[in-house]
Symmetry: C2
Subunit: 643 residues, 2 copies
Amino acid sequence: MEMDYKAVIDTQQLSAIRNESLIHYDKERKEFEKIIYDSIEHGPFLDVDSTTQKRLTNEIVKKVMAMGRFRVQLLREDPKKLLSYLHALFPSLDLSPIAKIVIHLQLFGGTILEIGTEQHHKRYFDDINNYKIVGGFAMTEMGHGSNVRQIETTATYDHSTKEFIINSPSLTSTKFWIGNMSMFGTHVVLFCRLIYKGEDKGVHVIVTPIRDPETLTVYNGISIGDCGHKVGWNGVDNAWIRFSNYRVPRENLLNRYATITEDGEYISKLSSPSKLFQITISELVFGRMLYVCGPIQYLGIALKASIRYAFSRRQFGEKGKTEELIMNYPTHYRILLPMLAQNTAFEFARNWVIDNIQESSKSEEKREEFHAIVSGIKAMVTEFAIVALSRLRVMCGGNGMSSHNLLGYMRNELDVFQTAEGDGAVLYQQLSKYLMVEYKRWYKKEGMTGYIKKEVQSFLVTSNPIYTHYRSMPYLLSNEFHQHAFSFRFEKTRSMVIEQLNQTKAKGLTFQQSWNASLILVAELAKAYTHLHTLECAHRAVRKCSDPITRHVLNDLIKLYALHNIEQDFGFFRNTNFLSSGKAVAISEAVTSLCQTLKPYALSIVESINDFEGRLDIPIGKSDLDYITHMARKVGIPLQKHA
Amino acid sequence: MEMDYKAVIDTQQLSAIRNESLIHYDKERKEFEKIIYDSIEHGPFLDVDSTTQKRLTNEIVKKVMAMGRFRVQLLREDPKKLLSYLHALFPSLDLSPIAKIVIHLQLFGGTILEIGTEQHHKRYFDDINNYKIVGGFAMTEMGHGSNVRQIETTATYDHSTKEFIINSPSLTSTKFWIGNMSMFGTHVVLFCRLIYKGEDKGVHVIVTPIRDPETLTVYNGISIGDCGHKVGWNGVDNAWIRFSNYRVPRENLLNRYATITEDGEYISKLSSPSKLFQITISELVFGRMLYVCGPIQYLGIALKASIRYAFSRRQFGEKGKTEELIMNYPTHYRILLPMLAQNTAFEFARNWVIDNIQESSKSEEKREEFHAIVSGIKAMVTEFAIVALSRLRVMCGGNGMSSHNLLGYMRNELDVFQTAEGDGAVLYQQLSKYLMVEYKRWYKKEGMTGYIKKEVQSFLVTSNPIYTHYRSMPYLLSNEFHQHAFSFRFEKTRSMVIEQLNQTKAKGLTFQQSWNASLILVAELAKAYTHLHTLECAHRAVRKCSDPITRHVLNDLIKLYALHNIEQDFGFFRNTNFLSSGKAVAISEAVTSLCQTLKPYALSIVESINDFEGRLDIPIGKSDLDYITHMARKVGIPLQKHA
């Protein structure tokens, strides 16, 4: 019977399309991966106290850095290569070593690269690449997370000694969550307000030594401690840091955009302090890209394991017959397959992100667009992955509760992705603001005629009763319909946001107040755009698939994503009269039917998800589907022949 | 400005209504709680390896049991008192000690109480109450979780020695997840197939010694090991157990319903082996009740902390002004308040459960009804709580990532609630099956006329255009409308299930097949009923509130639950033409408006959630709202005056 499920698709081609953006680095990544896993004792830390985990993690990072592949310069020269190297650390599913390297190399080193000048590069890059110094990124404070612009730490310039005097003026100004710094870090890039001749010049960045690199003794004037146990990432030593009249030389100011000359003159190349801040923050986009990659990769692995388990675990069934595979219950397949579909679609959006990161730095305009779109994707995938992982945990029952199967562990490791590098509520606003500004530009260019033309066209298309009610299966299943529904949702939500902003403005609210009052709709707009963008990326990927059966299956998977997404949002589509109730019901039926069509291919589809040459050790997720034996091995049940 | 939020409601009355079902035990519970926390070093285990945690947890349990309050007999004499005592262990938010006591006292002791006879009670109860023996509940096996009926462990009766010979005939028959047994347990109630004169008599329960109570040496013929690290409950020593020709005397069979006489004759008082199984399983209902209490209690605590945090944390705002409280953003209040509303409604459903547990054992009919309803509530609240806790974690940002604030910890501790004592997908089916059988009974009694009358009535009410479109605010806000919407959803879903079962049956499927094909709808039916039941419990509770402002606020909170629930289910209500699009939009507006109305009362409302005389130590959730100082204290930041 299981033979039915071995329907043949070209898993290699599917795998290549999934991982298209990094495919050229595959060989190099695999080599590096092999070196790491052959030489370093590694694996998820399930059952050690966090102090031990921090020490062990630091040892791993030291060894990996000593291999010489990770270099700050890669951030500019070849960010895809850097990303591929980071992927080589993935098979342990332990995110702490990756996090520590990213903090050190990209957040610390990358800030010096982008905001510093030649002298800083010369002074620090070799030591960073050799891990002689260990860097941190001291931005957030106890009272200031999302709103970094309000940080309180001060650096007052002392003309007499040509030094900055750094202070933490309040409890809320305590630097908090500073990764790498509670045990091992030697330097941070410190985000602080520059006080120059009594004037607040806004947020600047200063390379600030914290510990002696030889002895790891903390310098006088600094107090530091550990932030304590966390939901995940317990291998990362996060610190709180306070400064009291701590002195740092003038040269340590990262001065690409604003500097203090040897004569003590402050010169800024930028129009305003907030511009400097914007540029500084936009450098974080590489990190945000990692926050797109991580959840999708993790969830893919979890889906692979859970779907394999669903094809091996049996419960209940007809009397006197073998119990039924749990995959055959709609309560399983109608959840697992749409989840797989959505994650696959997100993979294509991720590939778009990876493919555009280098290009995006080429102009202000592109940088802005890229930053906005990545923000939306980051917010959406991080939220989706946590909800999905929680659900998979439950769908794997008792075996999901076992840490050996890593579902709870992965959820906890991934949880911080929703918060770090921007909370979803804030990121959705960033995308929506960008979309509204873009719309205003278009509106100005096209003028009222263009606007009316567009509105009328949209009105005609969606209010046409034939259009609303026409519901032949082929039409509902067509990519054209899905594209249209997603576009409609985006444009309609945009006009709803405009309407709501106008209404609240008419009541006398400030723009900020009326924007805040509309936040729910603003977030919906960002989500609608992100889904539209994702669908477009996915449709492009389908077209690249040359093997006919594989293309068909992938196309069905993307259709499932689209229709399930519409189903999830029936409230919107029905309330805006885009769908009749009959059409809505037909869509639900199409979702079920697509799930049933795809079920026999599910094992082959997940085969194409990278499991790092079998290095992942998840007992319920092995290719032989023999979860009983693998679990028995894990918990030490003797495997002699049982009667 | 914060003064606005101190709107006066009678928090004591609100607290009393919330906890009505156990209010008479409050004094005793508090006394016990004080004794426990004065004499036992306790608190959540955030950062120890699981072996250490198991040892420490066992010490706690020993000390608590030595206090003499926990007795098996309470299960019958006064289950509410037992439940109150269990609540006294809550302030640590560590569920392992509670779990260990429940496994020992209720699952082990309670099974002996209900399935055993006088001789067993005499032999074991004192030792159980004194914790001289430590019990476990050996039901689930590696291959058999939800479907216990298929367990494989055998007990073959040996007439010559008057003993059972116990064997684990296959790898899948290995007992798995057996709590209390990997390190400290001495006995289990063993669920196994009785083989009598070569015939399989079905599942029976035998008290089976595992370890010598003095030396804790495992007896020959038994192999045992630990199941390994888990997502939560790492203080519980869960074991796998295998038997090889292990002998247990005849007297150990729990023989209330089926026995083997001294002469070796097998006598069953029941019609069929499956009847015995049903009775055995229905004894688990006390445990299922705990699985209703736990998530609601936990989520209440998490909501209290998160809402207090939202009223203290500030981010962003108008230029030049103090930053805005995050509670004032719709992205916060329009999520937090509906969540609080739903959990409050669930509290009233829980009170119904607690109030009915003793009554329910009085007849087969009542037992069945109670069991079915509790199943639905258990499935719904466990799922809701995990999703909500995950969301709260994110809404508390970086402070949510800190284990000190316990949100991730609580999520992990609670996760197993979704799986143990019945997976949601299975429990929803149990309730729906009960509802369908009930309906069939009614249908038979009333006949076709009654059926048509009911259908026509429902049709007239819901298809009346005035009804569908009438949407004055007062009407949408009326309890009558909410009750009607919830009833409609339940009845409509039931008729949809019947229709789908008939359709699939017409295609030639067996009943089992067509039931399985309808599982999504079947689950929806159970959910619709559970929400209806919850709403009714909540409306009754509101009426008990004598203080007018408090009643008003509570009533609004329940309205918010109802309307938000309808909003979440717009797909259903719109597709069944219960709501016009205009009415749907008005409902969304009403939800927002209710949130804004309730916001000033939110702090007072959460004040009425039990925090165990301040024993809970959650830095972001303190009544003074000074999370910065409390977090600083937790992580060791010096608290001298800062400039």
